[in-house]
């Protein structure tokens, strides 16, 4: 709240690479409404597991309504960073953070922050599809019910809308009362996306959402991300560089806890500024 003035300042400065923002806007994609403002911004943000600094003093703005990919070798801190945004790391007792992480101008780790409300606004889909052992309908309706929607009609509407958004409606509309665990892996993952969308979040965090899926299901998820682009701010952690270059507008490259490079995807993949980035994207290590 006191940060608003400062926040406005940072708005003018484009975060990635410190250069002007205009350069980074992908020319081939139209600009979307309310897009391109810093939605999540990290300042000197570090994450520790006990004594180990898993993410080191990150400074970056994640721009609203764009797809940002986070890549890097395993153990580089990319997932940790992602999970820090909706405070899922709170589940790990030894984990704590320093610096600030702002979401919509409010401190995510502030004293008055309610992580439960925060997570409602920042939805998350995990690596392995994790539907609840309930019916498809109950899975989607779980979030809305949680937040006080009891009306059956309204729930049905939300379920249909979310499933349509997740491009799953046509496949499951006849068996909404079946157990969600009976769906295929790809369908389960889209169900998880739909479940997250049903809470109407502003940000979608996808933590390697396709790593447990086959190529066909992966393609469907990527199509889905394409569909959702422009409506949500999307962050996707992936170990698949082709995927990152296909689906994202911006890409962050993490290496050993450092945010090494953060640039428009095209630029990062064609003309990386850092040697480590180049080594990584050319496959010299992984």
């Amino acid at each position: 709240m006191q940060m608003t003035a400062e926040e406005k300042d940072t708005n003018k400065v484009a975060a990635p690479g410190g250069a002007s923002r205009e350069i980074f806007l992908p020319p081939e994609r139209e600009r979307v409404k309310d897009g391109g403002r810093p939605h999540v911004s990290a300042k000197n943000f570090s994450i520790f597991y006990g004594d180990f600094e898993a993410v080191k003093k990150v400074n970056a703005d994640i721009l609203s309504k764009y797809v940002t990919a986070i890549i890097g070798p395993s153990g580089c801190g990319k997932s940790t960073f992602l999970r820090a945004i909706n405070r899922m790391n709170d589940l790990i007792p030894s984990c704590y953070t320093t610096g600030t992480l702002m979401f919509d101008g409010e401190d995510v780790y502030g004293r008055y922050t309610d992580e439960v409300q925060l997570r409602k606004k920042i939805g998350m889909v995990l690596q392995k599809p994790n539907p609840f052992p309930k019916s498809i309908f109950d899975n989607i309706a779980y979030g809305p019910r949680l937040h006080g929607v009891k009306d059956k009609k309204m729930l049905e509407e939300v379920v249909e809308k979310s499933l349509r958004k997740a491009a799953l409606w046509d496949e499951v509309k006849d068996r909404l009362d079946r157990n969600a665990l009976g769906l295929s892996g790809g369908q389960q993952q889209r169900l998880c996306v739909a479940r997250t969308l049903a809470v109407e979040p502003e940000i979608l965090l996808l933590d390697e959402p396709t790593s447990a899926l086959d190529p066909k299901a992966t393609a469907k998820i990527e199509d889905l991300i394409e569909e959702l682009r422009g409506s949500y701010t999307i962050l996707i952690v992936t170990h698949n560089m082709q995927q990152a270059s296909r689906v994202s507008d911006y890409t962050m490259f993490y290496y050993e806890g450092d945010l090494v490079e953060y640039a428009p995807t095209k630029q990062l993949f064609t003309n990386p500024r850092d040697q480590v980035t180049e080594d990584y994207i050319t496959g010299r290590f992984s």
Binding site: M1, F103, E106, D107, G110, R111, Y112, T113, D114, E115, Q117, L118, K120, K121, G143, P144, H147, G148, V149, M154, E157, V158, K161, V199, E200
Partner: protein
């Protein structure tokens, strides 16, 4: 969105709370978790209460009578006036059936655990586990009934033959196995070839005949035994061992499983047979866990009431000779159960308090056993985790 807003009418959800809201949330959390903590502490409170209330009723006995008589005398005449409260024979009886049941249950339980964890294929294991669970589930009074009504008459009428058959079935295979191994070891020095073979067969033959003579001799001696009363320490030990088995098997199996595949594979890779792998590598690594299993099994045996009450004969004397398992005995648990009926009308008498003294003895013993086994398990976990 007009159709499906989530915050039906509420203010758009800010994730930043007002201080007022935060305070309310904190208070709710404090009381909520406090409630859970209180419930979770209930067990600890109960344990304290048990110690306190048993001790409170036990102490008057020691104040009145001191420790010497209780622990050193074997005259147990609580009903006399004045009563005699020498519990040595009773403590001895408890120890006797506990050791007896451990002697049966420990080898049986460990080999069953090994079989479950390393020998049987998964499909068979699925059927073996419910057997063990059912053994554990049968109520102790049903075991007691079996021991008293079915087993005791058998033991009384056919005691000798039963002992002889048990001897043959159990000792026979082991003795013969020992013959083969010893013959191999004796002759292992003499080079190779057919000469060694003949020597070896001769040695095996001679030893085998000696072993058979030995088996027959002992078997006949056992056959001649007459059991005067079927309700005796042997009966109780046997039944108790089957009650302790499930605990021993399941805890040792867990500990064997915890050893891990790498260690086993390492041993197999060096050309060891399964038996050698288990005996030389797996068992030593799992030994502390197995020890914990044995302690837990012993606790089950010493704390058991109904079987010993019904089938031990309940005579408070030290058997003659001291190792005579065919004699009747009396245990702490059975004494508490049996004497309370006459004693609890006159609370305050030594007769009432002495039973609590016995309870306290059992309680302290089981508490120590528990602490020890817990320590052992924790230590094994640490060792296996490489700390």
């Amino acid at each position: 969105m007009p159709n499906a807003t989530l915050d039906s009418g509420k203010k758009p959800d800010a994730f930043v709370l007002t201080p007022e809201k935060l305070r309310r949330q904190r208070i709710a959390k404090f009381f909520g978790e406090g409630f859970l903590l209180v419930v979770a502490s209930f067990v600890a409170i109960v344990v304290l209460f048990i110690f306190y209330f048993v001790a409170v009723d036990a102490i008057p006995f020691f104040q009145q009578r001191g420790f010497t008589e209780f622990f050193t005398s074997t005259s147990w005449y609580p009903a006399d006036e004045p009563g005699e409260f020498g519990a040595l024979a009773i403590i001895y009886g408890s120890g006797m059936v506990t050791i007896g049941s451990a002697l049966i249950a420990v080898p049986l339980g460990i080999s069953a655990a090994i079989c479950l964890s390393d020998v049987l294929p998964f499909s068979v294991r699925q059927y073996a586990k419910p057997v063990i669970e059912m053994l554990a589930a049968i109520p102790s009074v049903a075991y007691g009934f079996f021991a008293l009504v079915i087993f005791a008459p058998l033991l009384q009428n056919y005691g000798g033959p039963i002992l002889m058959w048990a001897w043959w079935l159990i000792a026979g295979p082991f003795v013969l196995l020992a013959v083969i191994v010893v013959a191999d070891l004796i002759t292992s020095g003499d080079g190779g070839g057919s000469e060694r073979k003949t020597i070896r067969w001769t040695v095996t033959g001679v030893l085998g005949i000696l072993a058979l003579v030995f088996l027959f001799w002992v078997g006949n001696a056992l056959n001649a035994i007459q059991i005067l009363s079927g309700t005796n320490a042997l009966n109780v030990s046997l039944i108790l061992s089957f009650m302790a088995l499930p605990t021993i098997v399941s805890v040792s199996e867990d500990s064997l499983q915890a050893v891990g595949r790498e260690l086993r594979e390492g041993s197999y890779a060096l050309g060891a047979t399964r038996a050698e792998t288990i005996v030389k590598t797996v068992l030593p690594a799992a030994s502390s866990g197995i020890l914990a299993a044995v302690i837990l099994g012993i606790m089950r045996a010493i704390g058991e009431t109904m079987v010993v009450w019904m089938a031990s004969g309940n005579s408070s004397h030290i058997p003659d000779p001291w190792y005579n398992y065919l004699d009747s005995i009396r245990t702490l648990t059975a004494t508490i159960a049996g004497d309370m009926g006459e004693a609890d009308q006159v609370t305050g008498s030594a007769r009432y308090h002495v039973l609590f003294a016995m309870g306290l003895l059992l309680l302290v013993f089981s508490f120590i056993c528990n602490l020890v086994s817990e320590r052992i398990v924790v230590r094994q976990r640490k060792i296996l985790a490489g700390e």
